[in-house]
């Protein structure tokens, strides 16, 4: 089979599985689990084969024109190069792990068939985005991912939180997608093609007439999808979805799609220094802000969500300094360890019966109950904090190296101010990232207090998946940073002495400070009991415990994101900033005042106008004939002779009129 045909199979298999799952899921429950896992696993294997065959060779292109579509042609095109095949392998790996994990995590869920089918559909769309060589086809996958995300965040639509979160996720990403669509059209009208290769040609020959406008429009969509400031607010709320969904969609793959797109179209962005500056500023604000917010969150999954936003900020920063190799390198390693973190968090929530770090910090022996989760999450958190020799260290150093390179003005097209912004923000965020990673680990696994209720052994599938993902977390960066430049065809990615010493040093400082704060607050934690744990049935499926924990967090702790815990090291470290950070710097409140309330007020006004003004006309239009009818009805008395008399009178009048007038 040719390479292109093989690559076409990769997105096709999960799509067929999704279609079959949606059609047959209710009728043939026995087929649902194999149908969920096997096609995705097969397409993972195929993606690996494609990657092996494509290797470091020249990009392979395949295109098929289904139909003539007017001025700018749309092709079903595949474009295989080092970026796309490697990202596809990551997507396949995480999707397979998540499908396996979900089998145990949602084992008794009545909506599992549709859930699994949607995850397959999502995987298929993401693979399409990764492989495609045509922006219109990419947009199809892009939007399918958006709608899958909407459905999966709202998987527990019985809870208010999930409903609100799914609508928010959908609307906020759509807010970015509209400018994105316009940007794609503008790009295509300049380049006269939707093919990415053609657009890149046009960009390198300077045929784009308004590169800044186009790049900014595209950036709006990227900010929405990849949860960058100021459109990031949907991602922390999206944690109301099941944990595997958070792992797949809102950590490893979909949110990375925006980064991947910028990486593919980087020449379009480097054509405009303004766009790079905006991207760098966005990335810097995102990195630092999200790290501060992560330090104050109480929900373990929200900590991870903010950390995802921050790591995406790193990738965006790498793109802003014009180094897509570093961005995709960080995307790959981050995808693996963040998926691991989320899946581990699912295990922890199951074992602890709560998603609140405050409650976990009052539990003894949680780490002993779930040793697999503790060790693998420890590894992944160390990777998140970029401690050597884990994969996160190498990828983050490659970003910092690129930023440092740009700050000295050595990168073409990139102003050195952009490099400085990314470098300083990246180093600050490295310190903060190490801080919140340490806080998460210490609060979750080093709590002291009464022993947590024994929920029995975690399902083997779930723990196995954790260890599978621990392998790339541990080894991916160190083993591949020498090989990857061949695949990406770019500059070396290895760590340089200066940035690694700075980055690692700051990370260690962050770890130590947080550890100190944690030790200092140990006594407070002991004296202030916060012992609210969800009393879910220990034998219930893990997802049920999570949904209950999410749904009751607000009523137990008074807030969806934060808990009023004086023994939280994050509170000590952030000081007066803590309440702000816990609520994402009140950005939601700002948006609510700026957009939500005006829209609601406008809707009320429209409703008033409709009810009171327009409906009055409608009622009058109906009422007037009725009144006339009532008047005429009185004449109908049943006496035929009266009718005939009236008829005669009418006829005479008409005749006279005709005679006189004619």
């Amino acid at each position: 089979m040719t390479l292109i045909a093989l690559a076409a199979l990769v997105p096709l298999l999960p799509f067929l599985a999704a279609a079959a799952g949606l059609l047959l899921g209710g009728r043939a429950p026995g087929f649902v689990r194999p149908l969920a896992v096997l096609p995705v696993a097969t397409s993972f294997v195929l993606a690996a084969v494609v990657a092996a065959r494509q290797g470091t060779g020249a990009p392979t292109d395949g295109a098929h024109r289904l139909t003539v579509t007017g001025s700018v042609p749309i092709d079903v095109a595949l474009h295989l190069d080092g970026f796309s095949v490697l990202v596809a392998v990551l997507v396949g790996l995480v999707a397979t792990c998540v499908q396996l994990y979900s089998v145990a995590y949602l084992r008794d869920d009545p909506r599992y068939p549709s859930y699994a089918a949607l995850v397959s559909l999502f995987t298929s769309a993401m693979l399409l985005v990764v492989y495609t060589g045509d922006l219109m086809v990419l947009l199809v996958g892009w939007e399918v991912m958006g709608i899958c995300s909407y459905f999966l965040v709202g998987h527990y639509w019985e809870t208010e939180t999930a409903r609100a979160a799914s609508i928010k996720a959908f609307l906020v990403t759509k807010l970015g997608d509209v400018p994105f669509l316009i940007g794609v059209f503008a790009l295509a009208s300049d380049a006269h093609t939707f093919r990415i290769t053609g657009i890149l040609d046009a960009a390198s020959h300077g045929q784009l007439h308004h590169p800044t406008v186009v790049a900014l429009l595209l950036l709006a969509g990227v900010a929405g999808k990849s949860a960058q400031f100021p459109l990031h607010t949907w991602l922390p709320d999206a944690m109301a979805g099941p944990t595997p969904v958070s792992a797949l969609i809102h950590a490893a793959t979909m949110v990375a799609a925006g980064i991947y797109l910028v990486a593919r179209l980087l020449p379009v962005f480097t054509a405009s220094a303004a766009a790079l500056a905006v991207l760098a500023a966005t990335a810097a604000v995102t990195m630092v802000g999200s790290a501060l917010a992560a330090l104050a969150q109480d929900d373990i999954k929200r900590v991870l969500a903010y950390s995802t936003i921050g790591q995406l900020g790193y990738m965006a920063g790498a793109l802003a300094v014009g180094d897509r190799d570093a961005a995709v390198f960080h995307l790959l390693s981050h995808g693996a360890f963040k998926a691991l973190l989320f899946l581990g968090a699912g295990v922890v929530i199951h074992a602890a019966g709560t998603n609140s770090l405050t409650a976990m910090s009052r539990m003894g022996s949680l780490g002993k109950r779930v040793p697999d989760a503790m060790w693998t999450m420890g590894l992944a958190l160390a990777a998140l904090a970029a401690l050597p020799p884990l994969s996160g260290f190498f990828s983050k150093e490659s970003v910092l190296r690129a930023a440092e390179h740009a700050s000295s003005g050595d990168t073409a097209h990139v102003p050195s101010a952009v490099g400085w912004t990314v470098l300083v923000a990246g180093l600050t965020a490295a310190l903060l990232t190490a801080g919140y990673a340490t806080r998460l680990f210490l609060l979750a696994f080093r709590g002291s207090g009464p022993d947590v209720a024994d929920h029995g052994r975690q399902p083997v599938v779930m723990t196995t998946v954790l260890w599978v993902l621990a392998v790339p977390t541990l080894a991916f960066g160190g083993l591949t940073y020498r090989e990857l430049p061949d695949w990406f065809g770019g500059a070396p990615l290895g760590p340089t002495l200066l940035t690694s010493v700075l980055g690692t040093g700051l990370a260690l400082v962050g770890v130590l400070i947080t550890y100190g704060a944690w030790s200092a607050t140990t006594a407070t934690r002991g004296s202030v009991p916060v012992g609210a744990v969800v009393a879910a049935d220990p034998d219930a499926e893990p997802a049920l415990i999570e949904i209950e924990a999410v749904a009751t967090h607000e009523e137990i702790y008074g807030d969806i994101a934060a808990a009023d815990d004086p023994g939280d090291p994050g509170r000590l470290l952030l000081g007066p900033l803590h309440p702000l950070a816990a609520h994402g710097f009140r950005l939601d409140a700002v948006y609510s005042a700026l957009f939500v309330r005006p829209v609601l007020a406008a809707a009320n006004l429209v409703r008033f106008l409709d009810r009171e003004v327009i409906e009055t006309y409608v009622r009058a239009a109906g009422g007037t004939p009725r009144l006339l009818g009532a008047a005429v009805r009185r004449a109908q008395n049943g006496n035929v002779q009266t009718y005939l008399s009236a008829l005669l009178a009418g006829a005479v009048v008409l005749a006279v009129l005709v005679a006189v007038g004619g």
Binding site: R634, Q636, N637, G638, N639, V640, Q641, L644, S645, L648
Partner: protein, 131 residues
Amino acid sequence: MHLAYPAVLAVLLFCVGLYGVLARRNAILVLMSVELMLNAVNLNLVAFDVWLRDTLHAGQALTLFTITIAAAEIGLGLAIVLLVFRHRGSSDIDRLTGLAEPHGPEVPHGPDATDARPAPAADDEKAEATA
């Protein structure tokens, strides 16, 4: 003979008929008045046929038609009057006001309420027919 004579006679006949239709109370007399009006028209038809010297005599032919139809109509009309009289004990047109708009609140006639009943019966008939 001058055309005025039959025409005036027809007008007189028609006015007598019209008066009868509008003013008489007895349904049979009303029917008779209708016949008078028809015959006035017949008279006009024949008179104008002659006056116009129509070679096809369309007026006379149409008169024959009118007479035939009037006979059939009066047969039907008398039958209806007879039935009404048997039913009500009166043929007084003033009292036959069944077509009047009923006073008081309107009762909406849902089509569903009446249509729901016959459907199963039709099914039963079909079932019997197939059995």
